[in-house]
Amino acid sequence: MLRNWKLSMVFLFLSGMVLLFIAAPLAGIFLKTSLPQYGQVIADPTVLRSIRLTLLSSLAGTLLFGIAAIPLAYLLARKDFFLKGLINGLVDLPVVIPHSAAGIAILGVVSRGTWLGKAGEAAGITFVGGVAGIVLAMAFVSLPFLINAARDGFDAVPEKLEKAALNLGASPWRVFFSISLPLAKRSVISGLIMMWARGLSEFGAVVIIAYHPMVTPVLIWERFNAFGLSYARPVAAVFVLVCLAIFVVMRLLSKNNIHVRN
């Protein structure tokens, strides 16, 4: 009993330290920002424009690449194939490489001299220094969050349910959309939210592709460099609040939307 009590105390202390480590700096941002400063930031069109650009670019990347990434997650969960381990590793690569390096890598593919860059230009899409480049950079670094969550979700759907549906006459398409996807929905939605949230916070890859138009992480960095901490902090506080609010609302919505009863 004593040992359990001691163990509990040690665990509680360590857990508390970790939580404090996460919460204290964030709380510091909010507490050190005065109400008038909040007001100034909210009234600043540059900040508002950058927040809108950040939210929408990340959302566009999530939706665009999510459509292709969900089938990939399904394949990784269901099929055994040659080099599957390598592909699983490849999926995680954007998480482990420095994001500035990721930015350089993307730049190598979309810069004006490349065929993608040229094709984009012909279609009126600017990657370097454009919204399309920001979307690509955000999607690149955040895709692993969606693929991994969705793969785990599909993995948890018993294959027998799919076989039962096939046996009842359903086509493989129908099985995917009426059985596999709804049952993996919780994980897929969670992955989409994580991908979107991760895209919002991206700085390293985005700044290399597009300094302008300015996403909020780049704006915070620019304000910090040009004017110092007291000018960067209010922008950071407002951006964190907006992200938190949307994150909480989406979590609640996705939770209420799912009714898997067992």
Binding site: P158, K160, L161, K163, A164, A165, L166, N167, L168, G169, A170, S171, R174, S178, I179, P182, L183, H259, V260, R261, N262
Partner: protein, 353 residues
Amino acid sequence: MLEIKEISIRFGNFALEDISLEIAPGDYLALLGVSGAGKTVLLEVLAGLVKPAKGQIRWNGRDITRSRIQQRPVGLVYQDLSLFPHLDVFSNIAFALKVRKTPPAAISKRVNELARETGVQHLLERFPGTLSGGEAQRVALARTLAAEPDILLLDEPLANLDVKLKTGLKALMRQINRSGKTMIHVTHDFMEAATLANKVAVIENGSLAQFGSPEEVFRHPKTEFVARFSGIKNILPCHLEPAAGEGSLSKAILAGGQSIFFLGGEPSSEGFVMIPQEDIVLSEGPLESSARNQLKGVVREAYLSGSGMEILIDAGVELVASLSRQSFEKMGIIQGKTIWVSFKASAVSFLAG
């Protein structure tokens, strides 16, 4: 007619070898075997979910070995039922109908009919996670019947159910069978097979050990495995010796040296004699009777079995006899009591080993 011809498949660490069966429309086949014998895989092969390495499956003359899953005349009910957890009972049953683009009004009518037939009409709005084992089994049957298969494949449908629920479900399965459905029912319980099926196939080590009517298989098991599976407990290794002057009787010598007489001549010299435990008569002394076989033994154990008792007797070889509670009490059977065991030569059958 469902013809399964020389189906072979290797799957993980077991294999099915050359399984051949013929099942007439309306037949109720029990597929018997121990767990892991490959019975479920055979069902999946029939359903098209697993491709056989070789062999052919024909239904009414049509080769369906390579047919698409959706075009096969079979409905499969898995042991774990695999009800869709995110759909309520109504939608589970309606699934096959929706897939076939049945109009909503017709879906509603048919689902209600099936729910009534299977006794789940009060559960239509419930989700699978809230159903009991028996309820879920009935829903799974209704869902599969909605696809109107010619052949119903049932994987251990009565496993993990209590006696009362089993009785109800057996009645439902007989009723489904009487309505014209061909049934293939996988089980490891020979009593279940005997009470439901008109044909029995026993799978042993991936091969078909015996196929026939329950009567044939259980009365005349072809292998020791089938005999043990069919519930015969007295299966004793023996060798045969000439039974001079005994007419049509043959003589088997047991491992302990005891002689057992049985009807019919056998060309084999090694094998097993099988003595149904119900055919053994117990007495406190030697019996003057028509029973040709008599052995003296000692009671080793007595235990309850169904409505009666089973007695384990050491007569040089171990024998199990069944008797009623009344006889057990009247004879005052206790451990260590000396007892005589008698049985007719006609009750003994010989199995070449």
